[in-house]
Protein backbone atom coordinates (compact mmCIF):
# COMPACT_ATOMS: atom_id res chain seq x y z
CA UNK A 1 0.00 0.00 0.00
CA UNK A 2 2.69 2.40 1.13
CA UNK A 3 4.93 1.49 -1.77
CA UNK A 4 2.10 1.91 -4.21
CA UNK A 5 1.37 5.36 -2.82
CA UNK A 6 5.02 6.34 -3.12
CA UNK A 7 5.12 4.99 -6.64
CA UNK A 8 2.10 6.98 -7.76
CA UNK A 9 3.50 10.09 -6.10
CA UNK A 10 6.73 9.63 -8.00
CA UNK A 11 4.83 9.15 -11.25
CA UNK A 12 2.88 12.29 -10.56
CA UNK A 13 6.02 14.33 -10.04
CA UNK A 14 7.52 12.84 -13.21
CA UNK A 15 4.48 13.76 -15.26
CA UNK A 16 4.45 17.27 -13.81
CA UNK A 17 8.13 17.88 -14.44
CA UNK A 18 7.96 16.57 -17.99
CA UNK A 19 5.04 18.90 -18.66
CA UNK A 20 6.86 21.87 -17.22
CA UNK A 21 9.69 21.24 -19.65
CA UNK A 22 7.60 21.52 -22.79
CA UNK A 23 5.44 24.46 -21.75
CA UNK A 24 5.99 28.17 -22.24
CA UNK A 25 4.64 30.57 -19.65
CA UNK A 26 3.66 33.98 -21.01
CA UNK A 27 2.49 36.80 -18.80
CA UNK A 28 1.49 40.42 -19.31
CA UNK A 29 -0.79 42.75 -21.20
CA UNK A 30 -4.42 41.82 -21.73
CA UNK A 31 -4.25 43.64 -25.07
CA UNK A 32 -1.66 41.24 -26.47
CA UNK A 33 -3.24 38.32 -24.62
CA UNK A 34 -5.92 37.21 -27.11
CA UNK A 35 -3.43 37.03 -30.01
CA UNK A 36 -1.11 34.78 -28.08
CA UNK A 37 -3.97 32.67 -26.70
CA UNK A 38 -5.24 32.06 -30.24
CA UNK A 39 -1.73 31.26 -31.48
CA UNK A 40 -1.26 28.94 -28.50
CA UNK A 41 -4.44 27.04 -29.37
CA UNK A 42 -3.25 26.50 -32.93
CA UNK A 43 0.28 25.50 -31.90
CA UNK A 44 -1.12 23.16 -29.27
CA UNK A 45 -3.08 21.20 -31.86
CA UNK A 46 -0.47 21.39 -34.64
CA UNK A 47 2.89 21.12 -32.93
CA UNK A 48 1.96 19.97 -29.42
CA UNK A 49 3.53 22.90 -27.61
CA UNK A 50 1.97 23.89 -24.31
CA UNK A 51 1.63 27.64 -23.87
CA UNK A 52 0.16 29.11 -20.71
CA UNK A 53 -1.05 32.71 -20.98
CA UNK A 54 -1.76 34.86 -17.94
CA UNK A 55 -2.89 38.49 -18.18
CA UNK A 56 -2.99 39.26 -14.48
CA UNK A 57 -1.18 42.50 -13.68
CA UNK A 58 -0.78 43.74 -17.23
CA UNK A 59 2.43 44.96 -18.85
CA UNK A 60 4.19 45.61 -15.55
CA UNK A 61 3.65 41.99 -14.58
CA UNK A 62 4.99 41.00 -18.00
CA UNK A 63 8.31 42.68 -17.27
CA UNK A 64 8.55 41.68 -13.62
CA UNK A 65 7.77 38.04 -14.36
CA UNK A 66 10.63 38.03 -16.88
CA UNK A 67 12.93 39.54 -14.29
CA UNK A 68 11.93 37.01 -11.66
CA UNK A 69 12.14 34.26 -14.32
CA UNK A 70 8.62 32.98 -13.75
CA UNK A 71 7.75 33.46 -17.42
CA UNK A 72 9.64 32.98 -20.68
CA UNK A 73 7.83 35.71 -22.60
CA UNK A 74 6.36 38.93 -21.33
CA UNK A 75 3.61 40.69 -23.26
CA UNK A 76 3.67 44.49 -23.22
CA UNK A 77 1.43 47.02 -24.91
CA UNK A 78 3.78 49.99 -24.51
CA UNK A 79 7.42 50.86 -25.07
CA UNK A 80 9.96 49.88 -22.45
CA UNK A 81 10.50 53.20 -20.68
CA UNK A 82 13.66 54.63 -19.19
CA UNK A 83 12.13 54.04 -15.79
CA UNK A 84 11.71 50.37 -16.59
CA UNK A 85 15.30 50.15 -17.81
CA UNK A 86 16.49 51.67 -14.57
CA UNK A 87 14.32 49.39 -12.50
CA UNK A 88 15.39 46.22 -14.29
CA UNK A 89 18.99 47.24 -14.85
CA UNK A 90 20.20 43.66 -14.38
CA UNK A 91 17.87 42.24 -17.05
CA UNK A 92 18.43 42.55 -20.76
CA UNK A 93 15.11 42.78 -22.59
CA UNK A 94 14.69 41.90 -26.25
CA UNK A 95 11.44 43.09 -27.83
CA UNK A 96 9.67 41.30 -30.65
CA UNK A 97 7.15 43.50 -32.43
CA UNK A 98 4.00 41.57 -33.32
CA UNK A 99 1.48 44.31 -34.15
CA UNK A 100 0.25 47.82 -33.50
CA UNK A 101 -2.71 49.28 -31.74
CA UNK A 102 -3.82 52.52 -30.12
CA UNK A 103 -5.41 53.55 -26.86
CA UNK A 104 -8.74 55.26 -27.30
CA UNK A 105 -10.86 57.24 -24.90
CA UNK A 106 -14.10 55.31 -24.81
CA UNK A 107 -17.60 56.18 -23.60
CA UNK A 108 -20.93 54.42 -23.81
CA UNK A 109 -22.99 54.72 -26.98
CA UNK A 110 -25.73 56.51 -25.07
CA UNK A 111 -23.40 59.28 -23.97
CA UNK A 112 -21.95 59.54 -27.47
CA UNK A 113 -25.41 59.99 -28.92
CA UNK A 114 -26.10 62.69 -26.37
CA UNK A 115 -23.41 64.85 -27.90
CA UNK A 116 -19.95 63.98 -26.65
CA UNK A 117 -17.92 63.23 -29.78
CA UNK A 118 -14.38 64.37 -29.16
CA UNK A 119 -11.99 65.70 -26.55
CA UNK A 120 -8.79 67.67 -26.69
CA UNK A 121 -5.70 66.58 -24.79
CA UNK A 122 -6.00 69.53 -22.43
CA UNK A 123 -9.62 68.64 -21.70
CA UNK A 124 -8.49 65.09 -21.04
CA UNK A 125 -5.93 66.41 -18.62
CA UNK A 126 -8.54 68.43 -16.78
CA UNK A 127 -10.84 65.42 -16.56
CA UNK A 128 -8.00 63.35 -15.16
CA UNK A 129 -7.21 66.01 -12.59
CA UNK A 130 -10.91 66.28 -11.69
CA UNK A 131 -11.10 69.92 -12.77
CA UNK A 132 -13.90 69.13 -15.20
CA UNK A 133 -16.43 66.95 -13.42
CA UNK A 134 -19.54 67.23 -15.53
CA UNK A 135 -20.24 66.21 -19.12
CA UNK A 136 -22.23 69.41 -19.56
CA UNK A 137 -19.01 71.35 -20.03
CA UNK A 138 -18.00 69.04 -22.87
CA UNK A 139 -21.22 69.28 -24.84
CA UNK A 140 -22.92 66.35 -23.20
CA UNK A 141 -25.82 65.89 -20.80
CA UNK A 142 -25.85 67.07 -17.16
CA UNK A 143 -24.11 64.03 -15.76
CA UNK A 144 -21.14 63.51 -13.49
CA UNK A 145 -18.00 62.26 -15.20
CA UNK A 146 -16.87 58.92 -13.80
CA UNK A 147 -13.28 58.38 -14.84
CA UNK A 148 -12.50 54.67 -14.89
CA UNK A 149 -8.74 54.64 -14.74
CA UNK A 150 -6.73 51.64 -15.87
CA UNK A 151 -4.97 50.30 -12.81
CA UNK A 152 -1.28 51.12 -12.28
CA UNK A 153 1.09 48.94 -14.25
CA UNK A 154 -1.21 48.53 -17.23
CA UNK A 155 0.43 49.42 -20.56
CA UNK A 156 -2.70 51.29 -21.58
CA UNK A 157 -2.37 53.60 -18.60
CA UNK A 158 1.26 54.39 -19.37
CA UNK A 159 0.50 55.18 -23.01
CA UNK A 160 -2.32 57.46 -21.89
CA UNK A 161 -0.18 59.30 -19.36
CA UNK A 162 2.66 59.71 -21.83
CA UNK A 163 0.30 61.28 -24.36
CA UNK A 164 -1.33 63.61 -21.84
CA UNK A 165 1.61 64.57 -19.67
CA UNK A 166 4.58 63.88 -21.92
CA UNK A 167 7.67 63.43 -19.80
CA UNK A 168 6.23 65.66 -17.09
CA UNK A 169 5.13 64.66 -13.66
CA UNK A 170 1.85 62.85 -13.32
CA UNK A 171 -0.21 64.16 -10.41
CA UNK A 172 -1.26 61.62 -7.81
CA UNK A 173 -5.02 61.38 -8.03
CA UNK A 174 -7.09 58.41 -6.96
CA UNK A 175 -9.56 57.17 -9.53
CA UNK A 176 -11.80 54.17 -9.81
CA UNK A 177 -9.58 51.38 -11.04
CA UNK A 178 -10.27 48.87 -13.76
CA UNK A 179 -8.01 46.00 -14.75
CA UNK A 180 -8.22 44.15 -18.03
CA UNK A 181 -9.70 45.46 -21.29
CA UNK A 182 -12.77 43.31 -20.83
CA UNK A 183 -13.44 44.77 -17.41
CA UNK A 184 -12.90 48.33 -18.61
CA UNK A 185 -15.33 47.79 -21.48
CA UNK A 186 -18.11 46.23 -19.44
CA UNK A 187 -17.82 48.87 -16.75
CA UNK A 188 -17.99 51.75 -19.20
CA UNK A 189 -21.16 50.21 -20.63
CA UNK A 190 -22.78 49.80 -17.23
CA UNK A 191 -21.71 53.05 -15.62
CA UNK A 192 -23.68 56.16 -16.50
CA UNK A 193 -21.24 58.92 -17.34
CA UNK A 194 -18.25 56.59 -17.47
CA UNK A 195 -15.15 57.13 -19.56
CA UNK A 196 -12.11 54.88 -19.78
CA UNK A 197 -8.93 54.25 -21.71
CA UNK A 198 -9.32 51.18 -23.88
CA UNK A 199 -7.56 49.45 -26.72
CA UNK A 200 -9.10 50.64 -30.01
CA UNK A 201 -9.51 47.11 -31.28
CA UNK A 202 -11.63 46.15 -28.29
CA UNK A 203 -13.72 49.30 -28.54
CA UNK A 204 -14.49 48.99 -32.23
CA UNK A 205 -15.76 45.44 -31.96
CA UNK A 206 -18.51 46.36 -29.55
CA UNK A 207 -21.42 48.53 -30.72
CA UNK A 208 -22.31 49.48 -27.14
CA UNK A 209 -19.21 51.65 -26.76
CA UNK A 210 -17.94 54.52 -28.88
CA UNK A 211 -14.45 55.80 -29.51
CA UNK A 212 -13.93 59.50 -28.93
CA UNK A 213 -11.87 61.48 -31.41
CA UNK A 214 -8.99 63.58 -30.14
CA UNK A 215 -8.84 67.16 -31.34
CA UNK A 216 -5.27 68.31 -31.69
CA UNK A 217 -4.59 71.89 -32.82
CA UNK A 218 -8.20 72.14 -33.89
CA UNK A 219 -8.02 69.04 -36.06
CA UNK A 220 -10.05 65.95 -35.20
CA UNK A 221 -7.98 62.79 -35.26
CA UNK A 222 -9.60 59.38 -35.04
CA UNK A 223 -7.52 56.31 -34.22
CA UNK A 224 -7.75 54.72 -37.68
CA UNK A 225 -5.08 52.74 -39.48
CA UNK A 226 -3.56 55.77 -41.16
CA UNK A 227 -3.22 57.94 -38.08
CA UNK A 228 -1.87 55.05 -36.00
CA UNK A 229 0.76 54.08 -38.57
CA UNK A 230 1.88 57.66 -39.05
CA UNK A 231 1.82 58.17 -35.24
CA UNK A 232 -0.34 61.26 -35.74
CA UNK A 233 -2.68 59.82 -33.16
CA UNK A 234 -0.88 60.53 -29.88
CA UNK A 235 -1.84 57.32 -28.15
CA UNK A 236 -0.68 54.90 -30.84
CA UNK A 237 1.37 52.04 -29.49
CA UNK A 238 3.16 48.88 -30.51
CA UNK A 239 2.49 45.43 -29.16
CA UNK A 240 5.49 43.37 -28.18
CA UNK A 241 6.52 40.02 -26.89
CA UNK A 242 9.57 40.47 -24.70
CA UNK A 243 12.22 37.94 -23.82
CA UNK A 244 15.18 38.22 -21.53
CA UNK A 245 17.10 35.07 -22.42
CA UNK A 246 18.17 33.32 -25.64
CA UNK A 247 15.05 31.77 -27.15
CA UNK A 248 14.40 28.05 -26.85
CA UNK A 249 12.84 25.99 -29.64
CA UNK A 250 9.27 26.39 -28.47
CA UNK A 251 9.64 30.15 -28.24
CA UNK A 252 11.16 30.30 -31.71
CA UNK A 253 8.26 28.31 -33.14
CA UNK A 254 5.77 30.68 -31.49
CA UNK A 255 7.52 33.79 -32.81
CA UNK A 256 7.87 32.33 -36.32
CA UNK A 257 4.19 31.52 -36.27
CA UNK A 258 3.24 35.03 -35.16
CA UNK A 259 5.34 36.55 -37.93
CA UNK A 260 3.88 34.23 -40.57
CA UNK A 261 0.89 35.13 -42.72
CA UNK A 262 -1.39 33.01 -40.55
CA UNK A 263 -0.11 34.61 -37.38
CA UNK A 264 -0.45 38.13 -38.71
CA UNK A 265 -3.99 37.28 -39.80
CA UNK A 266 -4.79 36.50 -36.18
CA UNK A 267 -3.41 39.90 -35.21
CA UNK A 268 -5.69 41.49 -37.76
CA UNK A 269 -8.69 39.37 -36.78
CA UNK A 270 -8.57 40.86 -33.33
CA UNK A 271 -8.65 44.34 -34.80
CA UNK A 272 -4.97 45.22 -34.38
CA UNK A 273 -2.64 46.33 -37.16
CA UNK A 274 -0.20 43.86 -38.69
CA UNK A 275 3.50 44.60 -38.42
CA UNK A 276 3.79 45.48 -42.09
CA UNK A 277 1.01 46.87 -44.21
CA UNK A 278 -0.51 44.24 -46.43
CA UNK A 279 0.62 45.06 -49.93
CA UNK A 280 -1.71 42.67 -51.69
Amino acid sequence: MFIRALFSLGMGILVLSSQAEASIKIQGSSTVGPIVVKAAEILKSNKDIDIVVDTFGGSAAGLSSLASETAQFGMISKEISEEDKKKYSNVHFTTHLIGSDAVAMVISKKLYDQGVKSLSLSQLKEIYEKKITNWKKLGGPDQKIIFLNKEPGRGTWEVFVKAVYGQGNVPSISHLEVGSNEEAKSKVINTPGGITQLSVAWAQKDPRVKVLGLSIDGKLILPDEHSIRSKKYPMARNLYLVSSKPLNDGQKILLDFLYSEAGQNIVEDYGYLRVRQNTK
Binding site: G57, G58, S64, G153, S172, S174, G179, N190, T191
Partner: protein, 314 residues
Protein backbone atom coordinates in the same frame (compact mmCIF):
# COMPACT_ATOMS: atom_id res chain seq x y z
CA UNK B 1 -15.25 21.00 21.88
CA UNK B 2 -15.19 17.32 21.22
CA UNK B 3 -11.88 17.72 19.50
CA UNK B 4 -10.24 19.63 22.33
CA UNK B 5 -11.56 17.05 24.78
CA UNK B 6 -9.95 14.33 22.75
CA UNK B 7 -6.70 16.26 22.64
CA UNK B 8 -6.69 16.53 26.42
CA UNK B 9 -6.70 12.77 26.88
CA UNK B 10 -3.49 12.62 24.84
CA UNK B 11 -0.36 13.89 26.41
CA UNK B 12 3.02 14.99 25.29
CA UNK B 13 4.42 11.48 25.80
CA UNK B 14 4.59 10.98 22.08
CA UNK B 15 7.49 13.41 21.88
CA UNK B 16 9.65 11.70 24.52
CA UNK B 17 12.27 9.67 22.78
CA UNK B 18 13.94 8.71 26.01
CA UNK B 19 11.91 7.51 28.93
CA UNK B 20 12.15 5.14 31.89
CA UNK B 21 15.79 4.61 31.21
CA UNK B 22 15.46 3.37 27.67
CA UNK B 23 15.07 4.63 24.15
CA UNK B 24 11.64 4.53 22.66
CA UNK B 25 12.14 5.14 18.99
CA UNK B 26 9.74 4.06 16.32
CA UNK B 27 9.07 5.15 12.77
CA UNK B 28 5.68 6.57 13.73
CA UNK B 29 7.16 8.58 16.52
CA UNK B 30 9.96 10.02 14.39
CA UNK B 31 7.62 10.78 11.57
CA UNK B 32 5.12 12.55 13.81
CA UNK B 33 7.86 14.67 15.32
CA UNK B 34 9.20 15.54 11.91
CA UNK B 35 5.77 16.47 10.59
CA UNK B 36 4.83 18.55 13.63
CA UNK B 37 8.18 20.32 13.42
CA UNK B 38 7.73 20.98 9.73
CA UNK B 39 4.25 22.43 10.13
CA UNK B 40 5.36 24.64 13.02
CA UNK B 41 8.36 25.80 11.05
CA UNK B 42 6.30 26.73 8.01
CA UNK B 43 3.68 28.70 9.90
CA UNK B 44 6.26 30.44 12.05
CA UNK B 45 8.57 31.27 9.19
CA UNK B 46 5.73 32.79 7.17
CA UNK B 47 4.93 35.00 10.12
CA UNK B 48 8.55 35.91 10.75
CA UNK B 49 9.05 36.68 7.07
CA UNK B 50 6.11 39.07 7.15
CA UNK B 51 7.37 40.84 10.25
CA UNK B 52 10.93 41.02 8.94
CA UNK B 53 9.95 42.37 5.55
CA UNK B 54 7.37 44.84 6.81
CA UNK B 55 9.45 46.30 9.62
CA UNK B 56 11.08 48.64 7.10
CA UNK B 57 7.79 50.27 6.18
CA UNK B 58 6.72 50.43 9.80
CA UNK B 59 9.90 52.27 10.73
CA UNK B 60 9.70 54.65 7.81
CA UNK B 61 5.99 55.41 7.86
CA UNK B 62 5.36 54.99 11.55
CA UNK B 63 1.95 56.03 12.73
CA UNK B 64 1.14 57.87 9.53
CA UNK B 65 0.71 54.47 7.89
CA UNK B 66 -2.36 53.95 10.06
CA UNK B 67 -3.61 57.51 10.36
CA UNK B 68 -3.45 59.01 6.87
CA UNK B 69 -5.17 58.09 3.65
CA UNK B 70 -2.65 58.90 0.96
CA UNK B 71 -1.57 55.74 -0.80
CA UNK B 72 0.36 57.02 -3.83
CA UNK B 73 3.15 54.60 -4.50
CA UNK B 74 4.59 56.74 -7.28
CA UNK B 75 5.30 59.45 -4.70
CA UNK B 76 6.41 56.83 -2.19
CA UNK B 77 3.71 57.78 0.24
CA UNK B 78 1.90 54.95 1.92
CA UNK B 79 -0.99 55.90 4.17
CA UNK B 80 -3.40 53.04 4.53
CA UNK B 81 -6.18 54.43 6.71
CA UNK B 82 -8.73 54.17 3.89
CA UNK B 83 -7.82 50.51 3.38
CA UNK B 84 -8.23 49.63 7.05
CA UNK B 85 -11.51 51.49 7.22
CA UNK B 86 -12.73 49.76 4.06
CA UNK B 87 -12.00 46.32 5.48
CA UNK B 88 -13.60 47.03 8.86
CA UNK B 89 -16.65 48.73 7.37
CA UNK B 90 -17.38 45.99 4.84
CA UNK B 91 -16.89 43.24 7.44
CA UNK B 92 -19.00 44.94 10.11
CA UNK B 93 -21.76 45.84 7.69
CA UNK B 94 -21.88 42.37 6.25
CA UNK B 95 -22.28 41.02 9.80
CA UNK B 96 -25.02 43.54 10.53
CA UNK B 97 -26.88 42.58 7.38
CA UNK B 98 -26.37 38.88 7.87
CA UNK B 99 -27.06 38.63 11.62
CA UNK B 100 -30.86 38.96 11.63
CA UNK B 101 -31.24 36.59 8.69
CA UNK B 102 -29.04 33.93 10.19
CA UNK B 103 -30.43 34.26 13.75
CA UNK B 104 -34.10 34.19 12.94
CA UNK B 105 -33.59 31.89 9.98
CA UNK B 106 -31.87 29.37 12.19
CA UNK B 107 -34.54 29.66 14.88
CA UNK B 108 -37.35 29.31 12.36
CA UNK B 109 -35.69 26.31 10.82
CA UNK B 110 -35.17 24.74 14.23
CA UNK B 111 -38.91 25.01 14.83
CA UNK B 112 -39.92 23.68 11.45
CA UNK B 113 -42.22 20.69 11.88
CA UNK B 114 -41.29 18.76 8.77
CA UNK B 115 -38.02 16.98 9.32
CA UNK B 116 -37.53 16.45 5.58
CA UNK B 117 -37.94 20.10 4.70
CA UNK B 118 -35.72 21.17 7.56
CA UNK B 119 -32.88 18.90 6.57
CA UNK B 120 -33.07 19.88 2.93
CA UNK B 121 -33.02 23.60 3.71
CA UNK B 122 -30.13 23.05 6.08
CA UNK B 123 -28.25 21.15 3.41
CA UNK B 124 -28.95 23.90 0.90
CA UNK B 125 -27.55 26.60 3.15
CA UNK B 126 -24.52 24.51 4.00
CA UNK B 127 -23.94 23.96 0.31
CA UNK B 128 -23.74 27.72 -0.15
CA UNK B 129 -20.45 27.58 1.72
CA UNK B 130 -18.89 25.41 -0.94
CA UNK B 131 -19.68 27.75 -3.82
CA UNK B 132 -16.35 29.28 -4.95
CA UNK B 133 -16.08 32.94 -4.07
CA UNK B 134 -15.40 33.98 -7.65
CA UNK B 135 -18.87 32.71 -8.56
CA UNK B 136 -20.35 34.99 -5.91
CA UNK B 137 -18.29 37.81 -7.36
CA UNK B 138 -19.66 37.20 -10.85
CA UNK B 139 -23.21 37.02 -9.53
CA UNK B 140 -22.48 40.29 -7.76
CA UNK B 141 -21.44 41.92 -11.02
CA UNK B 142 -24.33 40.52 -13.03
CA UNK B 143 -27.21 40.83 -10.56
CA UNK B 144 -26.34 42.88 -7.50
CA UNK B 145 -24.58 45.81 -9.14
CA UNK B 146 -27.27 46.76 -11.67
CA UNK B 147 -30.05 46.19 -9.11
CA UNK B 148 -28.40 48.36 -6.48
CA UNK B 149 -27.55 51.03 -9.03
CA UNK B 150 -31.20 51.25 -9.99
CA UNK B 151 -32.33 51.42 -6.37
CA UNK B 152 -29.76 53.78 -4.99
CA UNK B 153 -28.82 56.06 -7.89
CA UNK B 154 -31.28 58.56 -6.44
CA UNK B 155 -29.20 58.69 -3.27
CA UNK B 156 -25.98 59.34 -5.14
CA UNK B 157 -24.73 55.90 -6.14
CA UNK B 158 -22.55 56.28 -9.21
CA UNK B 159 -21.37 52.92 -10.48
CA UNK B 160 -23.23 50.23 -8.58
CA UNK B 161 -19.96 48.94 -7.19
CA UNK B 162 -18.92 50.02 -3.74
CA UNK B 163 -18.71 49.23 -0.08
CA UNK B 164 -22.43 48.57 0.31
CA UNK B 165 -22.44 46.19 -2.65
CA UNK B 166 -19.43 44.41 -1.21
CA UNK B 167 -21.08 44.19 2.22
CA UNK B 168 -24.27 42.70 0.83
CA UNK B 169 -22.30 40.19 -1.21
CA UNK B 170 -20.19 39.28 1.82
CA UNK B 171 -23.27 38.89 3.99
CA UNK B 172 -24.53 36.24 1.58
CA UNK B 173 -21.14 34.53 1.63
CA UNK B 174 -20.83 34.37 5.41
CA UNK B 175 -24.44 33.29 5.92
CA UNK B 176 -23.67 29.53 5.92
CA UNK B 177 -20.94 29.97 8.54
CA UNK B 178 -23.18 31.90 10.90
CA UNK B 179 -26.23 29.84 10.14
CA UNK B 180 -24.81 26.39 10.77
CA UNK B 181 -23.11 27.34 14.05
CA UNK B 182 -26.22 29.05 15.35
CA UNK B 183 -28.48 26.24 14.24
CA UNK B 184 -26.35 23.71 16.07
CA UNK B 185 -26.42 25.70 19.28
CA UNK B 186 -30.17 26.37 19.02
CA UNK B 187 -31.01 22.75 18.46
CA UNK B 188 -28.91 21.70 21.47
CA UNK B 189 -30.53 24.29 23.72
CA UNK B 190 -33.98 23.47 22.38
CA UNK B 191 -33.58 19.82 23.15
CA UNK B 192 -32.36 20.58 26.63
CA UNK B 193 -34.98 23.08 27.72
CA UNK B 194 -37.97 22.63 25.47
CA UNK B 195 -39.95 20.42 27.82
CA UNK B 196 -39.47 22.69 30.78
CA UNK B 197 -40.36 25.72 28.69
CA UNK B 198 -43.49 24.07 27.38
CA UNK B 199 -44.54 22.94 30.83
CA UNK B 200 -44.14 26.51 32.04
CA UNK B 201 -46.35 27.61 29.20
CA UNK B 202 -43.79 29.79 27.45
CA UNK B 203 -44.54 30.83 23.91
CA UNK B 204 -41.93 30.13 21.26
CA UNK B 205 -40.99 33.80 21.08
CA UNK B 206 -40.61 34.04 24.83
CA UNK B 207 -38.67 30.79 24.85
CA UNK B 208 -36.26 32.19 22.28
CA UNK B 209 -35.66 35.57 23.89
CA UNK B 210 -35.46 34.43 27.50
CA UNK B 211 -33.65 31.12 27.19
CA UNK B 212 -32.22 30.19 23.81
CA UNK B 213 -30.77 33.57 22.90
CA UNK B 214 -29.00 34.38 26.19
CA UNK B 215 -27.69 30.86 26.66
CA UNK B 216 -26.72 30.62 23.01
CA UNK B 217 -24.98 33.99 23.01
CA UNK B 218 -21.45 32.55 23.26
CA UNK B 219 -22.11 30.40 20.20
CA UNK B 220 -23.64 33.33 18.39
CA UNK B 221 -20.62 35.48 19.18
CA UNK B 222 -18.19 32.83 18.04
CA UNK B 223 -20.13 32.48 14.80
CA UNK B 224 -19.79 36.25 14.39
CA UNK B 225 -16.05 35.93 14.96
CA UNK B 226 -15.71 33.34 12.23
CA UNK B 227 -17.96 35.36 9.94
CA UNK B 228 -15.92 38.49 10.54
CA UNK B 229 -12.73 36.62 9.75
CA UNK B 230 -14.14 35.29 6.52
CA UNK B 231 -15.54 38.68 5.51
CA UNK B 232 -12.32 40.54 6.26
CA UNK B 233 -10.22 37.98 4.42
CA UNK B 234 -12.40 37.53 1.35
CA UNK B 235 -10.64 38.77 -1.77
CA UNK B 236 -11.94 37.75 -5.15
CA UNK B 237 -15.64 38.47 -4.73
CA UNK B 238 -14.99 41.81 -3.06
CA UNK B 239 -12.39 42.70 -5.66
CA UNK B 240 -15.00 42.39 -8.38
CA UNK B 241 -17.62 44.65 -6.82
CA UNK B 242 -15.88 47.15 -4.54
CA UNK B 243 -14.91 49.55 -7.32
CA UNK B 244 -11.31 49.94 -6.18
CA UNK B 245 -10.99 53.64 -5.48
CA UNK B 246 -7.98 54.52 -3.36
CA UNK B 247 -7.87 56.91 -0.45
CA UNK B 248 -11.60 57.46 -0.10
CA UNK B 249 -12.71 58.50 3.38
CA UNK B 250 -16.18 59.36 4.69
CA UNK B 251 -14.91 62.85 5.49
CA UNK B 252 -15.02 63.62 1.76
CA UNK B 253 -18.73 63.34 1.20
CA UNK B 254 -20.37 61.89 4.27
CA UNK B 255 -21.07 58.33 5.30
CA UNK B 256 -23.90 57.70 2.86
CA UNK B 257 -21.73 58.67 -0.08
CA UNK B 258 -18.90 56.59 1.39
CA UNK B 259 -21.01 53.46 1.66
CA UNK B 260 -22.73 53.78 -1.68
CA UNK B 261 -19.65 54.50 -3.73
CA UNK B 262 -16.42 52.82 -4.55
CA UNK B 263 -13.72 52.18 -2.01
CA UNK B 264 -10.86 49.84 -1.38
CA UNK B 265 -10.04 47.29 1.30
CA UNK B 266 -6.80 45.64 2.36
CA UNK B 267 -7.50 42.45 0.47
CA UNK B 268 -8.44 44.16 -2.77
CA UNK B 269 -5.29 46.26 -2.54
CA UNK B 270 -3.17 43.17 -2.04
CA UNK B 271 -5.07 41.29 -4.73
CA UNK B 272 -4.37 44.03 -7.25
CA UNK B 273 -1.36 44.35 -9.51
CA UNK B 274 0.83 46.38 -7.17
CA UNK B 275 2.96 43.49 -6.02
CA UNK B 276 4.23 43.23 -9.61
CA UNK B 277 5.01 46.92 -9.73
CA UNK B 278 6.79 46.79 -6.41
CA UNK B 279 9.52 44.69 -7.99
CA UNK B 280 12.89 46.10 -6.92
CA UNK B 281 11.23 48.81 -4.89
CA UNK B 282 11.72 47.48 -1.35
CA UNK B 283 9.85 50.40 0.14
CA UNK B 284 6.69 49.63 -1.80
CA UNK B 285 6.98 45.89 -1.23
CA UNK B 286 7.48 46.43 2.46
CA UNK B 287 4.39 48.62 2.69
CA UNK B 288 2.32 45.94 0.95
CA UNK B 289 3.64 43.28 3.30
CA UNK B 290 2.88 45.47 6.28
CA UNK B 291 -0.70 45.55 5.04
CA UNK B 292 -0.67 41.77 4.84
CA UNK B 293 0.68 41.51 8.37
CA UNK B 294 -2.01 43.86 9.65
CA UNK B 295 -4.67 41.74 7.95
CA UNK B 296 -3.33 38.60 9.63
CA UNK B 297 -3.16 40.30 13.02
CA UNK B 298 -6.64 41.72 12.58
CA UNK B 299 -8.26 38.39 11.89
CA UNK B 300 -6.28 36.65 14.64
CA UNK B 301 -7.19 39.45 17.02
CA UNK B 302 -10.93 39.51 16.40
CA UNK B 303 -11.21 35.73 16.33
CA UNK B 304 -9.33 35.22 19.58
CA UNK B 305 -11.13 38.09 21.29
CA UNK B 306 -14.59 36.84 20.43
CA UNK B 307 -13.65 33.22 21.02
CA UNK B 308 -12.40 34.07 24.52
CA UNK B 309 -15.71 35.73 25.28
CA UNK B 310 -17.57 32.66 24.16
CA UNK B 311 -15.14 30.12 25.58
CA UNK B 312 -16.58 26.93 26.90
CA UNK B 313 -20.18 28.05 27.04
CA UNK B 314 -22.12 26.39 24.30
Amino acid sequence: MAISGFAKTQNSEIFYLFRDGRFKVSATRLMSIAIVGFVTLISLSAFIFLIWKSSDALMREGLSFFSTANWHFRDHSYGALALFLGTVVTAVFSLLICAPFSLFGAWALQNLRSEKLRLSIEALVTLMASVPSVVYGLLGILLLRPALLQTFSFYGMETGGGLLTASILLSIMILPTLFSLQLESFSKLSKKYQEQALSLGLSRTKFFWSIVFPLGLPAILSSFALGFGRAAGETVAVFLVIGRLDNKLPTEGGWIDYLLNAGQSITTKLGGPEIFISYQSPQHESALLLLALCLVLMSIGTSSLLLTISKGKV
